[in-house]
């Protein structure tokens, strides 16, 4: 078991390395020279050479990569193209906001969706199950911004309950901050919960097909007891896996939601960077997001290994 877990972690590290190469090379093949873009009209051969020497752009690509990777690991993320501010300082403020949003969403969405998934699995074919399966299928089939648009329409425009823009500033009291956060939170919870409910339900129903459940049914054990005592414990592994996968899914959800509500998070910073083609900034944000994603996927795999007795004790 230990070997499998260590193996998985090593694969994860290798993946992260491949990702870093992809991110670096991908952004380095950009048509046009960074020095020319930055200096623009004022570029003379001397100033271009000086700029390249200062940034190490005259070095071979492999050296530049090592330099960049070393910087990433030591927390020196370089300077932003726009304004020349240090990227670490730009990111540090935003990262906290995004982590806070993701954490609140996870704390609410995970118990909610496991409970609803269980509810649907306990009463398959009834109206509760039908409403939940149809509702969640519809929700996962539409883009995040569709849900966001409707939430703005209902909660902000029609009912005036919440502001349409997530404007949070540290000076506000917590109630005001909560109101500002409510809209992106609700949208993300809906997006993530829909996936988790479906997968929890499928996980339980999958266990329900096993022979020992058939045995319990034939013995006349009540349905609720079968699910809570027999099926649930065996479905914990898949469910933990689902939770980790969906927290990873938050990474993409956050990009859209932060853009719509102008929430000052890391994803918004990255999108702004993409639009101004601020390479170092996009590279740094991309590495943080991809790194988080890879780590969560590894956690999902490890959870799956740990919760499965057959994988835990290989022959």
């Amino acid at each position: 078991m230990q070997r499998m877990v260590i193996n998985r972690i090593l694969i994860g590290i290798a993946t992260l390395w491949v990702v870093s190469v992809l991110v670096f090379v991908g952004t380095a093949v950009l048509p046009g020279d960074v020095a020319e873009i930055v200096l623009g009209q004022a570029a003379t051969p001397e100033s271009l050479a000086a700029y390249r020497a200062e940034r190490g752009l005259d070095q071979p690509l492999a050296f530049q990569y090592m330099d960049w990777l070393g910087g990433m690991m030591t927390g020196d993320l370089g300077t932003s193209k726009a304004g020349g501010a240090s990227i670490a300082s730009l990111i540090s403020g935003r990262l906290g906001n995004t982590m806070f949003l993701a954490a609140v969403v996870a704390i609410i969405a995970v118990p909610l969706s496991v409970a609803l998934g269980l509810l649907a699995a306990m009463h398959p074919g009834t109206w509760i199950d039908r409403v939940l399966t149809f509702g969640t299928l519809s929700l996962i089939s539409v883009p995040e911004f569709f849900i966001a648009t409707f939430m703005v329409l209902i909660l902000a425009v029609q009912l005036h309950w919440l502001p349409a823009i997530a404007h949070v500033s540290p000076e506000d009291d917590w109630l005001k901050q909560l109101r500002g956060l409510a809209m992106p939170m609700i949208v993300l919870i809906i997006v993530v919960a829909a996936q988790m409910i479906r997968m929890t339900r499928a996980g339980i129903l999958n266990v329900m097909n096993s022979p020992y459940i058939e045995m319990a049914i034939l013995k006349g054990v009540p349905r609720t007891r079968i699910i809570l005592r027999h099926a649930f414990y065996n479905a914990i592994g898949p469910i933990v896996n689902v939770i980790a996968l969906n927290l990873a899914y938050l990474v993409s959800g956050v990009v859209i939601v932060e853009t719509i509500f102008a929430y000052p998070g890391l994803a918004k910073l990255m999108i702004d960077g993409v639009q101004t083609r601020d390479l170092p900034l996009v590279q740094a944000c991309g590495m943080i997001f991809c790194g988080t994603y890879v780590v969560l996927i590894i956690l999902a795999d490890v959870a799956a290994i740990l919760s499965n007795p057959r994988l835990r004790n290989p022959k």
């Binding site: 089939s141 883009p143 995040e144 703005v152 993409s252 996927i297």
Partner: protein, 306 residues
């Protein structure tokens, strides 16, 4: 998913063989009314893709109205009816949605087909060749799969700039990797079947085995998956356009239409809602059809007894 569909086919095959020893089992797909509604809506949008521009009242880039964010059913002098009102640049929304069907669905279909072409070819090749080829292809594929799709999209767009070919290429790379995974798994399953062994023993070449045995047997699971994959591609393209990094104006596409008209919500305009609904009807319908087909293949004890 692929494993369960294969397992579920077995009992059906046996029962049919009892009646007709020689006949191959024929699969008839009967849809419930939910599935039929889905098919109707999907066909509607596909027709719109083909003939949309000829029946749309206005051109997608025409700035025709007198006012932006006009409500639905507004009639303007000399121009006619604006069934769904106008957008932020005073263009007719219904016409733009009809034009956008071709852009959004067209690009998604092209990208999905390309993803299938590359994914299936490489996946089957990896399954048949095995060894180092399989190793190398699978590792690269895992690296692509281990990234969030939208991040990969953002990184590619920042490097190459936003344009339709880049968008199609990005979607192809991202979704070919998941098709590769499925095709490889299916190919590996089929390659160890008795009928493949029989064909090889008969002296059939590799190409014959792939085209006559492997592909026909992998076709049905791959076809079901095509619908799901198309939904993902539509959502991906819509999201990229929504972020302003996909299809560029003035071409109408559903994702960017939502973003551009988002501010209208504040003035009580529903301009952003209609293109969002267009995406939703298309993607939900495909998922309903797929759901309906896979539900027919199920039928477990738990479902019957509980």
């Amino acid at each position: 998913m692929t494993d369960s569909t294969q397992e579920n086919q077995e009992p059906e095959v046996k029962s049919k063989y009892d009646e007709l020893p020689d006949a191959p089992p024929k699969k008839k797909i009967k849809l419930s009314w939910v599935g039929k509604t889905g098919v109707t809506i999907v066909v509607f949008w596909l027709v719109m893709c083909l003939i949309g521009p000829t029946i749309a009242p206005f051109h997608e880039a025409d700035i025709i109205a007198y006012d932006s964010f006009m409500p639905i059913f507004t009639e303007t002098e000399g121009e006619g009816m604006h069934w769904l009102g106008t957008d932020y640049l005073e263009r007719d929304i219904m016409s733009r949605i009809i034009w956008g069907a071709r852009t959004t669905i067209g690009i998604a279909v092209v990208a999905t087909l390309l993803a299938y072409l590359f994914g299936v070819t490489l996946g089957i090749a990896a399954a048949v060749a095995g060894g180092w080829t399989d190793m190398a292809l699978s590792r690269v594929n895992d690296a692509i799969l281990s990234l969030p799709t939208i991040m990969l999209g953002l990184l590619i767009v920042v490097a190459l700039g936003a344009s339709i070919p880049v968008l199609i290429g990005t979607a192809t790379v991202i979704y070919a990797s998941s098709v590769f995974r499925i095709a490889r798994a299916l190919g590996q399953d089929i390659m160890v079947m008795d009928f493949v062994e029989a064909a090889r023993a008969r002296g059939e070449g590799l190409w014959w085995v792939i085209t006559r045995e492997v592909l026909p047997n992998a076709a049905m699971p791959l076809a079901t998956d095509f619908g799901l994959r198309l939904v993902f591609v539509v959502l991906f393209i819509a999201s990229m356009s929504f972020l302003g990094l996909g299809i560029q104006p003035p071409a109408a596409d559903w994702g960017s239409m939502v973003r551009q008209n988002l501010e209208g919500l504040g003035y009580g305009s529903y301009a952003a809602v209609w293109p969002a609904l267009a995406i939703a009807t298309f993607t939900i319908s495909i998922n309903l059809i797929v759901d309906d087909i896979s539900a027919k293949e199920g039928g477990s004890l738990a479902k019957k007894m509980i």
